[in-house]
C-alpha cells in the first residue's frame, strides 16, 4: 500500500515536473572549424542571412547555416568583442585598440581594407581595458563601452593617450599602481565611458560611470541599455538605461569629465556626493541567485517565432548556463523592472556571451571565458512551438504588483507568492551582502477575469529595495507548471514618484559597523613546509569572518572552517620555507549548494580571482581543488578571500612542491 502511494506520488510529481525546458526550447551545438579557439566576441547576421562571428584570437568567420560552410573573412584583430554588419561585404568590429570597418572591396569574400573608424580613446595596456560593442542607433551611430583597468595589474611602460591619476606621474604609477588606484581605475581618456561614434568616426564621450559594460544594445523604442558587472561601487550586477551625460555610478571615469577637478581622488570623496548624482540601474541582478556576470542584452525581435516573449529584452550570464528575461515597467516617468531566468541548462553552455537572432527567429548564442568562469562554442536555440507557463509582465501598483502569465492560473492563494526584499550598499568596496533582508507578507490577492493576471498587495512597499518573489506550486489551468519560479523586481520608485533611499549609501567618514563575524578574527599560527608534500589544517590558519566548525563529518584534524557572509572574509595560512619554487596548493573542501568561488592570493599577488569551488554534492563529501603558485623563501601568506559571495567549508591545504 505504501509503495502504491509512493508510485502515485512519483507519477504526480512527474506530471507536474514533466515539462522541462527542452519541451519548449531545443539547444543545438554548431560544429566550428578544427583549430579554432571558439571563444566568441561578437555575433551578427548579414542581410543575406549568413552569420558573422568574431573570435578571441582575432579571426572573423562567416557561416552559412544551409551549406554548413565556414569561411574566413578577416584575421589579426586584437580581442574583438562585438560585430555589426553594414552590408553583406562590410562588417564593423570593436577590438581593443579601435572601432574598425572590415571591407571586402574586391568581392573575393575576404576583407582587404581594415579601416579605422575611431581610435580616439586611451589605452594603458592593462588587461582589463576591454572594449565592448558596438551597437548601432537608428541613425547609424555606433556606441561602444570602454572597460576600466583593474588593480590586478599595472599599466604598460608605453600607453596611448594622456595619463591622468590624481597627481601621480605615469612613471610612479607604473612602478606602484597599488598606491591609491582603488580596485578599478581610469588612467587614460574615457575608460569607464560609453562612447558615441558616427559612421565617419567623429567620437564623443556619451556617458560616464561604468565599470565593465559588457552588454550594449538598443531596444525597439530606441533606448540604449548596458549591463555592468558586480564589483567595487556595484553591490550587484546591473542593467542601465543609458542616458547621455548621466553618471552611472562608478566614479573612476569622472576624472574625464570637464567639471572634475584635476588631481581630485574619487576614493576620498564622500559617497553621498556620488549617490546624489548617480542614475540608478533599472534592473539589479542579484549576485549568486540571478547572475554574477551579465553579458549582452538583445531584444527578442523574432515577432513571436521565438515563443511568447517577443519584444522583451534578453540578457546572458557568464557563470552559469542561463539566459534571462527582463520585464520593464514604466513608473512615474522612469523605467525600472524585473529580471528572471528564462532558459536554464537544457544543453546550454556556460559563458553565454553574445547573441544574434537569425531571420527565421532562432537565437544563436556564442560563449567565451577568457580564463574566467565561462565556456566556449556556438549554439542555436529554437522554440518548439509549445507555449511554456511563464510570467510575461510584472508591474508595480500602488499597493504591490500585478503579475501576468502566458496561460490562465489554475487557482492561487497567498502561499503561492513568497516575497522578500533586500538592498545592496552603494560603496567603494567590492560587492555587497544582501542587507535589510526581510520577508514581506501578501495581504490581498485578486485574479483577473481571464485568469492570466493576478494583483498582489503587500504589507510594505519602499523604494531602494529589490523585491524578490519565489513562486510556489504555480500551475496553469492546463496543468503545466510555471517554468521558472524566481523573479526579482528593482523598486527604485513608487507609483507616486517617491524614490528616496538614503539607506543605500555608506559614508566614508562613518566608522564601519562591526561585522557580525567580528569575534571571528584569529591570527594564523605560522607553520613550516619541510618536505615536498605537507598538509596544513584550516583550523591553524588565520581567519576573519569564517568560524571553526565540526558539525559535518569527514574532516581531518580538529574541524573545518565555515565561511559566513558574502564579502571581505578571508582564511590565510602563514607557511615558512627555506626553498622557493612552484607548488601545487590543494584545498580540501565541501560544498552542498552551487559554486562558491574564492579569490586566491599568495603573498598579496592574485593567483586566481575566482578559484572555482564547485559543489561536492553534500557538506560531508570532501573534494580537493588545486591551484599552482610560486612560493618564496621565508614566510608566505596563502590567502582565500570571499569577494561578494560566501565560500565553501575548507578542511585543509596540501602543499606539494612541483618538480
Amino acid at each position: 500500500m505504501k509503495r502504491t502511494i509512493f508510485i502515485l506520488n512519483l507519477l504526480a510529481n512527474l506530471a507536474l515536473r514533466g515539462a522541462g525546458i527542452n519541451d519548449y526550447y531545443k539547444v543545438e551545438n554548431i560544429p566550428a572549424p578544427k583549430g579554432l579557439d571558439v571563444q566568441i566576441g561578437g555575433l551578427t547576421f548579414l542581410p543575406d542571412g549568413r552569420l558573422a562571428a568574431c573570435f578571441h584570437r582575432g579571426e572573423v568567420y562567416t557561416y552559412n547555416s544551409k551549406t554548413k560552410q565556414w569561411k574566413l573573412f578577416a584575421d589579426g584583430l586584437h580581442e574583438p568583442l562585438g560585430i555589426v554588419a553594414e552590408d553583406d561585404k562590410t562588417l564593423v568590429v570593436m577590438q581593443r585598440p579601435e572601432l574598425t570597418r572590415l571591407r571586402d572591396t574586391d568581392g573575393d569574400g575576404k576583407a582587404d581594407h581594415y579601416q579605422t573608424i575611431s581610435d580616439d580613446f586611451g589605452m594603458t595596456g592593462n588587461y582589463h581595458e576591454f572594449a565592448f560593442g558596438p551597437t548601432r542607433d537608428k541613425e547609424g551611430n555606433y556606441y561602444v563601452g570602454l572597460n576600466l583597468a583593474s588593480s590586478g595589474a599595472s599599466i604598460r611602460p608605453e600607453i596611448r593617450g594622456e595619463f591622468r591619476h590624481y597627481g601621480i606621474s605615469r612613471e610612479q604609477f607604473y612602478k606602484n599602481h597599488k598606491a591609491g588606484s582603488g580596485r578599478m581605475y581610469s588612467a587614460a581618456p574615457y575608460r569607464g565611458w560609453i562612447m558615441k561614434i558616427t559612421p565617419e568616426g567623429k567620437t564623443t564621450p556619451f556617458a560616464p560611470g561604468f565599470r565593465s559594460p559588457n552588454g550594449l544594445g538598443f531596444d525597439p523604442a530606441g533606448r540604449l541599455w548596458a549591463t555592468d558587472n558586480q564589483g567595487d561601487w556595484l553591490g550587484t550586477s546591473k542593467l542601465f538605461h543609458v542616458k547621455q551625460d548621466a553618471f552611472h555610478g562608478h566614479p573612476a571615469s569622472l576624472a574625464w569629465t570637464d567639471s572634475w577637478k584635476k588631481g581630485r581622488n574619487p576614493l576620498k570623496v564622500p559617497p553621498a556626493e556620488f549617490d546624489a548624482k548617480r542614475t540608478r540601474a533599472a534592473v539589479l541582478f542579484p549576485q549568486g541567485s540571478m547572475a554574477n556576470s551579465p553579458t549582452q542584452m538583445i531584444t527578442d525581435i523574432s515577432g513571436g517565432k521565438f515563443g511568447p516573449f517577443a519584444g522583451q529584452l534578453l540578457v546572458g550570464e557568464m557563470n552559469r548556463a542561463r539566459i534571462m528575461r527582463i520585464l520593464l515597467d514604466e513608473v512615474a516617468g522612469e523605467t525600472q523592472g524585473a529580471c528572471l531566468p528564462f532558459i536554464d541548462n537544457g544543453g546550454l553552455h556556460r559563458g553565454m556571451h553574445r547573441f544574434a537572432f537569425a531571420p527565421n527567429g532562432s537565437l544563436w548564442a556564442g560563449q567565451t571565458h577568457l580564463s574566467w568562469v565561462g565556456g566556449n562554442g556556438l549554439q542555436r536555440i529554437r522554440w518548439t512551438g509549445k507555449i511554456p507557463m511563464g510570467i510575461t509582465a510584472m508591474k508595480l501598483t500602488q499597493a504591490g504588483f500585478k503579475l501576468s502569465f502566458t496561460k490562465p492560473l489554475a487557482k492561487v492563494t497567498a502561499e503561492n507568492f513568497v516575497f522578500q526584499r533586500y538592498y545592496y550598499k552603494y560603496h567603494q568596496s567590492y560587492g555587497s551582502p544582501q542587507l535589510g533582508k526581510k520577508p514581506i507578507k501578501v495581504t490581498n490577492l485578486k485574479l483577473t477575469s481571464d485568469g492570466k493576471s493576478v494583483s498582489i498587495n503587500l504589507e510594505k512597499l519602499n523604494p531602494g529595495y529589490v523585491y524578490q518573489l519565489n513562486l510556489k506550486n504555480i500551475i496553469a489551468t492546463d496543468k503545466t507548471p510555471v517554468l521558472n519560479t524566481l523573479i526579482c523586481y528593482t523598486l527604485n520608485r513608487l507609483t507616486n514618484g517617491d524614490g528616496k533611499a538614503p539607506h543605500l549609501i555608506v559614508s566614508n567618514s562613518s566608522k564601519p559597523r562591526p561585522a557580525k563575524s567580528a569575534a571571528n578574527v584569529v591570527q594564523a599560527k605560522p607553520d613550516t613546509l619541510k618536505g615536498i608534500n605537507q598538509i596544513f589544517e584550516a583550523e591553524d590558519a588565520g581567519r576573519k569572518g569564517p568560524s571553526l566548525a565540526k558539525n559535518n563529518g569527514g574532516y581531518t584534524g580538529k574541524g573545518f572552517v565555515d565561511f559566513q557572509a558574502g564579502s571581505d572574509e578571508h582564511l590565510n595560512w602563514i607557511i615558512q620555507t627555506k626553498n622557493a619554487g612552484e607548488c601545487s596548493l590543494s584545498f580540501r573542501y565541501a560544498l552542498a549548494g552551487s559554486r562558491r568561488p574564492l579569490q586566491l592570493k599568495v603573498n598579496g599577488k592574485v593567483i586566481s580571482k575566482a578559484l572555482p569551488f564547485i559543489s561536492t554534492g553534500s557538506w560531508t563529501s570532501w573534494n580537493t581543488l588545486t591551484a599552482i603558485a610560486t612560493i618564496k623563501v621565508g614566510a608566505n601568506d596563502i590567502r582565500l578571500e570571499s569577494t561578494g559571495a560566501s565560500g565553501p567549508n575548507i578542511d585543509n591545504l596540501t602543499i606539494t612542491r612541483n618538480p
Binding site: L72, H78, R96, P97, L370
Partner: protein, 341 residues
C-alpha cells in the same frame, strides 16, 4: 656459386652500410626532422635537402654548444658559410640555396650524448635546430627540451588557427617595446616586424620565427607576445617623420589595406595621407619600407634609427634623411641586417 654471391653481398652490407638520415625543411625555420638517434661509432650519411624559400645550412655541434656557435656565426661574412672556426663544429654543410642538397658522411662520436644540429645562418639558429641522440634513449617528443619549441608544440598538437603555418601573417596584439596598439607582422623570408598603430611608425624588426602569442591569448590579455628570433633593427620611440613646415602634428592611424596579404598602413598628419608598405629582402637579411605621400606639400626630414639603413632618395646627414617635396612623394627606406651589404 650462384647462391653464394647474394650471401656475400648481404654480409658486406650488414657490416659496412652506413645509416641513412634524410632531413628536409618545413616553413617557418624548421627542419622536418626534429631529432634522430644513432649508435656510438656508427657510420652515418646525412642528406640535407633545403626545400625552403630561403638559404640554410646544417651543422652538427658538440653537446651544449649550439647557442655559442649561433652567436659567433652572427658576425661572420656570407662567404664563410656562417661556420665559425671552432672545434665545437663537428660537421657541416655549406649554405644551401632553395632546392639544393648536400650529404654529410661521418662516424658518430664514441662519446654518448645529445649533439645539436643547427642552421647557423644569422638569426635562424635560435629556432631552427634539432638533436642527434648518440647512444641515449630519447624522451617523449612533447617533453624533449633538446628540440625546437615549435617541434615540441607541433607534437603537442597546438595549432593556433584553422590554417597551417603561413606568411605573411599579422596580429594586432600586445608587444614588448611598443604602445598597447601594436601590430606584429610576419613576412616571407623569415623577417618580422612590429608596427605601432598608437604612434604610427615601425618600431623594430627581427629575423627568425614570428611571435608566440600565447602569453596574451591563453587568458584575458595580461601578457605580451614573445618575439621568436633576433632583432636586427630598432627605430626611435617617437614618430620619425617631420614636416619642416608648417609644424608637426600627431599622426592619426586610418587603418590598412592588404595587398597580397601584406598590409599597407595608412595614417594622416594634418590632412596629408601617408602610406607605408613593408617588404622583406629575398635574402631574409632586412626589409624595405615603401612610402607614398602623394599630396605632400613640403620637404621632409626623417629620423633614421641606428644601423645599416639606405634611403632611395635624398640625403642622410647625422642620422637624419632630408627629402625635397618632390622626393617625398614616393621613396623607400631599407634596413639591412648589420652583416648584409
Amino acid at each position: 656459386m650462384i647462391r653464394v654471391l647474394p650471401l656475400a653481398f648481404v654480409a658486406f652490407t650488414l657490416t659496412a652500410a652506413p645509416l641513412k638520415i634524410a632531413i628536409g625543411t618545413l616553413p617557418g625555420l624548421q627542419y622536418d626532422k626534429p631529432r634522430f638517434a644513432v649508435d656510438s661509432g656508427q657510420e652515418v650519411v646525412l642528406t640535407f635537402n633545403n626545400g625552403d624559400e630561403m638559404a640554410h645550412n646544417l651543422a652538427i655541434v658538440a653537446p651544449g654548444k649550439r647557442l655559442e656557435i649561433v652567436q659567433s656565426a652572427l658576425t661572420l661574412p656570407p662567404d664563410s658559410n656562417y661556420i665559425p672556426k671552432n672545434n665545437a663544429v663537428l660537421w657541416h654543410t655549406p649554405v644551401l640555396k632553395p632546392d639544393e642538397s648536400a650529404d654529410l658522411k661521418f662516424t658518430a662520436p664514441k662519446e654518448k650524448g645529445i649533439y645539436p644540429y643547427v642552421c647557423t645562418f644569422p638569426g635562424h639558429g635560435l629556432i631552427m635546430y634539432g638533436a642527434m641522440y648518440v647512444g641515449i634513449k630519447m624522451p617523449m617528443l612533447a617533453q624533449d627540451q633538446n628540440v625546437s619549441p615549435m617541434a615540441r608544440a607541433q607534437n603537442a598538437d597546438k595549432k593556433l588557427h584553422t590554417w597551417p603555418h603561413r606568411r605573411p601573417l599579422m596580429y594586432r596584439i600586445f608587444m614588448p617595446d611598443a604602445s598597447p596598439a601594436a601590430i606584429a607582422v610576419a613576412l616571407p623570408h623569415g623577417v618580422s616586424y612590429c608596427w605601432d598603430a598608437g604612434t604610427c611608425h615601425l618600431r623594430y624588426a627581427w629575423i627568425g620565427g614570428f611571435v608566440d602569442p600565447m602569453p596574451v591569448w591563453k587568458a584575458n590579455g595580461n601578457g605580451l607576445a614573445k618575439i621568436i628570433g633576433t632583432k636586427f633593427w630598432a627605430g626611435t620611440k617617437s614618430f620619425p617623420l617631420h614636416k619642416l613646415n608648417p609644424f608637426d602634428l600627431r599622426p592619426r592611424f586610418q587603418g590598412y589595406r592588404k595587398i597580397n596579404g601584406h598590409p599597407e598602413f595608412h595614417y594622416t598628419i594634418a590632412d596629408i595621407d601617408v602610406y607605408e608598405r613593408i617588404a622583406s629582402l629575398p635574402s631574409g637579411m632586412g626589409l624595405t619600407r615603401h612610402f607614398r605621400i602623394p599630396d605632400v606639400n613640403c620637404p621632409l626630414r626623417i629620423t633614421i634609427g641606428p644601423g645599416n639603413t639606405k634611403v632611395s632618395k635624398g640625403q642622410i646627414n647625422h642620422g637624419v634623411a632630408t627629402l625635397t617635396t618632390n622626393e617625398a612623394k614616393s621613396f623607400t627606406i631599407t634596413h639591412h641586417h648589420a652583416h648584409e651589404k
